[in-house]
Assembly symmetry: C2
Homo-oligomer: 352 residues x 2
């Protein structure tokens, strides 16, 4: 029996989920992880490999259920079987391009599934939730750095982004309707990196959508070269600038959010940006990765991609003052830990 | 066998639904009506009273299923049992105040239910839909009259309004993902009145939320007096101005939308305002109702209600030019038909 309370983590076998479970276990929380396993590798009849690795890192056992959040009855059984204090809700489909092709699947999974989870929570008297949101809810930045006061929902151009925005709105309305609910919305900027052990990390299926795993696959020889889309943006080197955040810093942000919700003065909902507050360009990241890995990264300049913006980075001061959280891991460590994970697991969790 | 195609009408026993079914049957469409009957009166083991009255008006039989749109299997059976050409989708919870109190119920019913309907339609190759939307998607008007170009989703302050906005967005994304989909979003202003027969009309449960049924209940003696919220708005008499539209005009708008979707040149989605384009104040409506009914309407002036706006009325020219539709029934007829329905059915559909 752990000293701290029990946290249900939906999507616990995913990239952010698994790293957060590590930090929860290290901090003496009990964890119930659920995942529908559509996006994770497992050996036959076993729990997801990511969670096996979490157990290896922490020396703890993770209680796991292969459950989809749309399955009301299965969720209800879990809430009845365990004394759950709070929920950290990661479970969602997350590929932007796919969401444009099959929007209904995204809406039904991400919004419908979240609604079912919140209903089951409410029914079982569990009304504390940390929601895995995204800076995508801000759309095209109207000002920089982006504060939590920035308008949301305008210019979310893809279904994935809209599902994050809609679920935020549902949670706000839920808090208005019932003062017992306590909700923290964590708006992630660009999570990268891997656990320092190299045992868990990002394991994209197919061609990576994001910069860092793509660079890592070029470095390890799985891809020929990086495509850099646009070098005529009004940034210091012309390539797009983003706010990258180390996955371990991000995971720790969730623990800080849990602690915040436990304060008796906390009520209703608050949104926090999780970013470093500092932007790096595509070429900055590429150079940092070359340095961390000692490998040259081939790249080719191409035209701008439709819908891309020049710059996006967080004002992360609210999380600093209210959550006592700040990102401490720099871009070099982000690259180093990505490279460590990639080298040890060239084929992700399927690597022997 | 009717000459025209078969239309599935969800929420077919409701206020707008039942009036639309009348117009569909008059125009030689076959109708399959479904309704979960949470908001309609029926005698034991019978179809909803509203649809019995529709049959009385038209001399036709309405095929009816007591089905909830969240019930995927039941929906699928209906699509398999009938050769459905298009869907007119009314089914939704619609009480603004209730939506603030139980938001999850609204989100699960209105968004989740719509998503399930669209999935079943897609699976069965039925990809033409008229959606019952609302001027509420425009939020607080940024300019008047409101055109379809007015921003949506900003300042939708209640969950009911957000569900209309979110379903619009889902449908737009669906059309982007699959060019076979054809969708018309009809944004209603303030539907009032009743069928000229006095056999069907609005039958609110409990205290009416809307002006016209409230006035009618005062006139018929069910309520003491009307409460007028605010007489210091910048309007011609200080009371709030809205764009009222006769329910029969609104119903005919749905037929025009079906015809539009059948044109081979129509693709993707279009939104149309359904309103008269003319605003009437609370006191204008009250006076028109007094004239139509011959009854004095007691009223009391009170302070403004939070969230109310001074004026809202449509630019209805797009529906005129593209749908060949225009509202022809004036405010006096709206009151007259409301009064006729109210007198004949002082207790709505439960009246003997």
């Amino acid at each position: 029996m752990k000293g701290n309370s029990t946290i249900l983590v939906t999507g616990g076998a995913g990239y952010v989920g698994s790293h957060t479970v590590v930090e929860l276990l290290k901090n003496n929380y009990s964890v119930i992880a659920i995942d529908n396993m559509v996006n994770c590798y497992a050996k036959a009849n076993d729990k997801p490999e990511a969670l096996k690795r979490v157990e290896q890192i922490t020396g703890e056992t993770v209680t796991f259920y292969n459950v989809d959040i749309r399955d009301r009855d299965a969720l209800d059984r879990i809430f009845k079987a365990h004394k759950i204090d709070s929920v950290i809700h990661f479970a969602a489909l997350k590929a932007v391009g796919e969401s444009v092709k099959v929007p209904l699947m995204y809406y039904q999974n991400n919004i419908g599934g979240s609604g079912t989870l919140f209903e089951v929570m409410s029914k079982n008297g569990v009304k504390k939730l940390v929601f895995s949101s995204s800076a995508t809810v801000y759309g095209t930045p109207q000002f920089l750095p982006i504060t939590e006061e920035h308008p949301t929902g305008q210019g979310c151009t893809n279904p994935y982004g809209k599902t994050k925005y809609f679920v935020e709105e549902i949670l706000k309305d839920l808090c208005t309707s019932d003062p017992e609910w306590k909700v923290i919305l964590l708006r992630y900027f660009n999570p990268v990196g891997a656990h320092e052990s190299g045992l868990i990390g990002e394991d994209p299926s197919g061609i990576p959508n994001n910069l860092m795993p793509y660079i890592a696959q070029v470095a390890v020889g799985r891809r020929d070269k990086l495509h850099v889309f646009g070098n005529d943006y009004p940034t210091h080197d012309g390539t797009g600038v983003r706010d990258y955040i180390h996955i371990t810093d991000l995971a720790i942000g969730h623990l800080k959010a849990l602690e915040k919700m436990m304060q008796p003065t906390f009520s209703s909902w608050t949104a926090y940006n999780l970013g470093t507050g500092r932007g790096y360009s595509v070429l900055d990241v590429l150079k940092a990765f070359e340095k961390a890995s000692g490998k040259p990264i081939q790249y080719e300049l191409e035209g701008r991609r439709e819908g891309d913006i020049a710059e996006c980075y967080a004002d992360a001061s609210l999380a600093r003052t209210e959550l006592n959280w700040t990102a401490t891991r720099d871009i070099f460590l982000m690259c180093q830990d990505t490279w460590n994970w990639q080298q040890k697991n060239p084929k992700g969790f399927q690597s022997p």
